[in-house]
Assembly symmetry: C2
Homo-oligomer: 341 residues x 2
Amino acid sequence: MQISRPYLMFLGDVPDTLAAKTAYGIVDWRRDWCLGQLRLPGCKADLGLPDITVEEAAAQGAKTMIVGIVNAGGVLNEAWVPSILKALECGMDVASGLHIRLGSDPRIAAAAAEHGRQLFDVRQSDQRFATGKGVKRTGLRLLTVGTDCSVGKKYTALALEREMTARGLDAEFKATGQTGVFISGRGVAIDAVVADFISGAVEWISPDAAPDHWDLVEGQGSLFHPSFAGVTLGLLHGAQPDAFVVCHEPTRTNMRGVRHPLPTIAEVIDLTVRCGRLTNPAIRPVGIAVNTQALAEDEAKTYLAKVAAEHDLPATDPIRFGVGPIVDRLEAEFPRARAAS
Amino acid sequence: MQISRPYLMFLGDVPDTLAAKTAYGIVDWRRDWCLGQLRLPGCKADLGLPDITVEEAAAQGAKTMIVGIVNAGGVLNEAWVPSILKALECGMDVASGLHIRLGSDPRIAAAAAEHGRQLFDVRQSDQRFATGKGVKRTGLRLLTVGTDCSVGKKYTALALEREMTARGLDAEFKATGQTGVFISGRGVAIDAVVADFISGAVEWISPDAAPDHWDLVEGQGSLFHPSFAGVTLGLLHGAQPDAFVVCHEPTRTNMRGVRHPLPTIAEVIDLTVRCGRLTNPAIRPVGIAVNTQALAEDEAKTYLAKVAAEHDLPATDPIRFGVGPIVDRLEAEFPRARAAS
């Protein structure tokens, strides 16, 4: 799958910024690829890109319109269809991370055929996988896990990739969600895989590697989320991480989309270690990544210091303060000499 | 989905009896529907049915040939294709629980079309589900869980249905696997659902019910199986069981298909309670179901007594000794008066 750049980011009429997290993720990590944003009346998200029409984007050379929207169940909203048809008409491909195929709407399928454009359904995997085997693979792996969905697991893995690469470590982000696939150009949207093959697909994403190579596997969901914990557990078993980072959003009171309260960071560490031991007995936490966006800087620092002390782990906000302390811990726990020996 | 009876059971060239567990399950619970078995050279399974050819089965009125075979990855074996084509040619439908669609083989698709026959892929779900919500539903639910795959979870749930119904309790088997769907005529093969919808599909299978109604939900996999634990966890969260029964096979040394050792029964109870509390804080074990087929009767009784004492739970072999002790415990823990009050 090769998605052509640059992108026009389509936000539709999303009711909040979390629903546009795919689009935000792409802009945060691949700003240069994004020409502008297209928002419909009622849209509550803003990527900070120029607001442009489909025609303007096409005139500026946009090759693909990205439907960068997440919603429960992944339904295609009727209000979005005219914009998608217009993009195809103007010569753009359209790429989506929704569960439903763009082409399942006959109007979209017909327009794509008529104008000779491609429809990319990043969340649909036509690829076949083997069932997971749980056999230990070579190389090193880090998984980001979370107290909830949408708490920064992808951001943290990407920030770790940037920092580790800057330090000369051999580290590579491994996408397991639609946004990650848009950002890295490859990977598998693991929540779209047939349930029997969750861990097998992750084994495929992160195969045997050099002894000192780190795969930084993007986590999904939470072991404590009643909708998605199965995905999270299969991902944990397939990733067989040597190290994991817990991601958290301290002001959230309920798990996203349901009525359940958030687990504590300690509960997440404990259950992750307990379940993760099945495929990697040496699994251990190496840090806590907190989204402190809702806190003032002083509050954030106080909170991070408290969390770090409570769990005896480095705690940081990857966006605000960087992931240096976590990489310090990772380097201490997994000295490079080990790889060279 | 309505599969026509009676059945011809197709066993192919399966290398062991476990690989034919779908077929055994159907025969054990729906013997009257099965006219005979068709085995290829090298087949190591025997259902105890008359060996008949496709032509003989057709002459005796068989309406559907059941491909009653389980194998890792669900591949369609080339050696099975001629028999499938012959069945279609002789006027039978063909139903399969494999992951792969029968019609994905162009020869089979063409033969079905030519002869006007139906292909049933029980493991394929074209149905759309919502994501799980984790909201407590009315009615009572029991889930069978296991130390491994293929340790009697379906048998136990069906035996409980038979015993509970005989006692005048309102109890219904809820299928979550291909064999269960063949046996009950409905349900969803949960391991074939897209990963994001595992718990949501189980919520659909077992909706709100009368206060004294028991849904007996067929378990899948094991929380300790590195290939399938994600399915198991999503199923646990979606089923939100009030009670669970642990199923075990005491002579097995490795998890099926992988190199991992079996967990202990105590580990399974502990992790099931811990994870199950997320959607039902009152979850509790009510019995242990052991497949003692490999033990002499005295050995089996000694083993069951030991296991029962160790866990303070009734322990029985559902096939050999019935599930009476487990239903006794269930009735004690959940008195019918509660429902009537």
